[in-house]
Symmetry: C2
């Protein structure tokens, strides 16, 4: 008989692509300045309103707020109808044609919407398209699900669609097809780049011509500090090929665990069929519905954007001041981070190591790329969570780490 | 170019095993008496405590309650450490040896724990063992994931382990193996049957000998109205082969969306690695931790069990009175439902149709069995949610439907 460890190891060998032992590693060093994860600033959480509205929705309808939801009206798997209606109305205001509430499903943050879409529409070895770079969680998930990734590089106007076109032709020549394209069309993370309007139009045409679904991750879409808002791909689409992901994690609070996915009702039915839970909390969905109904969301977003703009500007000026001429970056019009390219003379591994030793953490660029791609010369610096007064100190420490990591010519 | 509908249909044809269009069907007739789903009675939800504790945890630590959780301490993917510690302590009290909190992960109800375990440990065509009958959601998920199910019939002491042994030998002869056995060892739904103590011991020996994981779904375990409590398989295990699922959905409220999975830390690491979300709500986890810390959970469970015992007894006496001699059932010692066998002269499809036409719904027996198995002569009648005064009326209507559905000899 094998030991449990040996047995579980043998399980892993069967399904090693899904992750192995030692998944959760405690970091050895305490982190003083965490520019690693794209977390919202906790001082923005609308505490008083959440307490008040939570009490209100519980008192008003405890049986509704605390039950699973009802099967017959779809509220168990799709989520509280009141919130889905508000989301449909909001989308409709910008789109025009009515959005069917059967085309709206609530998810545990935006991330669950991504996972479910990949599970619903893709089988192992199927082809998924994505930006290069893109969110590291998606890179990891694509690997775990054993999908074939087609990574499309970006310039300042987003994905290079000529490259996508070439890849589509290449796939066809191999007897394969692209089934789904994942895009953070507005404020790609890590780069902060958005897909330009003409490219959005062309991409929609390509989706129709080549018949692939577009999964538009718009969780950063509302976090715009300047520049003109771009219409979402979903709002421009008349074909049903686009699904759009939203989330309240960045704008209200992640502890609500509430995101959503919007699309053609039949596509959303496929999502509902693969979700391995019994939907999201009826309670927190009602809290958010009330928050929106009272007209609190839009002014709140305007307010948090003022804070994040200040943080972005401060982080940019400290990086300029402390790290020149060894870093270069474009200041994004929104979102939570700077995407910083290190000069070729800078040893990026040494920067990470020296920084961590002094308590400053940020995310290595290679995490945002699939295998065989680049990213080693980049760092993603998320300024969103670090208090204003600590941004300067933390990035000064990072700047010193960069200067200490310069290789001689 | 195909229409979106045609395109999505083509997607479905690729992945038809995962569910098709028209997933959410609104029922045509309104249901007055729903004995269908195993929902808790909403009058049991501890509203005042939840309101009070929700306010308390939000005010005390808004940044903790409303954020994602922290990566470095594992609280994002594993969930709030305070609640996991309480669950580990509780298990330790009954088990003896310490339970590592890395062996406890919070999930979106018990159902997500099941889904994640199947995803983590089983690949398509792998063999899973389960009771016959078992929870219809699991039957559906097994089919969706394209697993091979080995269904083990039950008697009044639970699974027939001689049959399991034969199936294990048969699998070995085919060059296959059982990887994981799903069991509701205490209060199997639909039957209410529990695995006897001697069989628990033998099953543990078999797991070690044949090297399979046991996934013990204990969500009904605390809902015992009479008889001696049986130790959980997890508490009897010294090998690490058993994982145990718990949930607060039946005991506190489903709207919290909180369950958990407990097992060997390496097995739980495999679960954390496949979860496609960013963990459960830090907020609601803190509410529950506070509820337990204040000593409210145990007396609350005792109280709800008094109500469910009354409902069980009332439902049993109405069924006896109104449906004799056309039904037979064993009164379960706990849980949410009666498993009723219809006499061979009763047309079960007609019962369902007549019942629904008059507003009474219950769950057809065949949903609890895989393909090629039986169940057509059974109904699961969940008494948990229906108010006391309506149980009599609803089951009277059902009784009349049964009497009207008797086939002549």
């Amino acid at each position: 008989m094998s030991t449990p460890e040996e047995f579980i190891q043998s399980m892993y060998s069967v399904m090693s692509s899904r992750g192995g032992p030692g998944y959760w590693k405690t970091s050895a060093k305490p982190v003083t300045w965490s520019f690693d994860a794209g977390l919202p600033d906790p001082t923005t959480f609308p505490l008083d309103d959440l307490v008040r509205l939570s009490d209100k929705v519980l008192r008003r309808d405890p049986a509704g707020a605390l039950q699973y939801g009802a099967g017959p009206d779809g509220s168990t798997m799709y989520g509280f109808g009141g919130l889905r209606e508000l989301l449909a109305e909001q989308a409709q205001r910008s789109v025009g044609p009515p959005v069917d509430i059967r085309g709206v499903i609530l998810t545990s943050g935006g991330v669950q919407a991504i996972t479910l879409a990949l599970q619903a529409f893709l089988n192992p070895t199927d082809v998924i398209g994505m930006e290069a770079p893109t969110w590291n969680m998606v890179v990891a998930r694509v690997r775990q699900l054993d999908l074939e990734a087609v990574a499309i590089p970006l310039d300042e106007d987003g994905m290079l669609l000529d490259v996508l076109e070439e890849r589509l032709q290449h796939l066809r020549a191999q007897g394969k097809r692209l089934k789904l394209l994942y895009t953070q069309a507005t404020f790609n993370s890590p780069t902060g780049v958005s897909l330009s309007l003409p490219r959005r139009q062309r991409l929609l045409e390509m989706a129709k011509e080549w018949e692939f679904l577009i999964l538009e991750d718009n969780v950063y879409g509302d976090l715009r500090f300047e520049g003109s808002a771009l219409p979402s791909m979903f709002s421009m689409d008349d074909s049903g090929f686009v699904m759009k992901i939203g989330s309240f994690s960045k704008t209200i609070a992640p502890g609500l665990r509430m995101g959503w996915l919007m699309g053609h009702p039949e596509a959303i039915a496929a999502i509902a069929a693969v979700r391995g839970d019994l939907g999201v909390s009826q309670w927190t969905a009602r809290v958010i519905a009330e928050y929106i109904s009272e007209g609190l969301l839009e002014p709140h977003i305007a307010e948090v954007n003022q804070l994040y703009r200040k943080k972005r500007d401060l982080a940019a000026s400290v990086l300029e001041e402390r790290c020149s001429p060894w870093v270069s970056f474009h200041v994004p019009e929104g979102g939570f981070n700077h995407w910083v390219e290190l000069d070729e003379h800078v040893d990026s591994a040494a920067v990470r190591e020296l920084g961590l030793a002094q308590g400053v953490d940020c995310r290595p660029g290679e995490k945002f790329f699939g295998e065989g791609e680049s990213g080693k010369s980049h760092l993603r610096i998320a300024y969103s969570q670090v208090p204003m007064e600590e941004i300067e100190r933390g990035l000064t420490v990072l700047g010193n780490a960069i200067k200490e990591s310069i290789r001689p010519d």
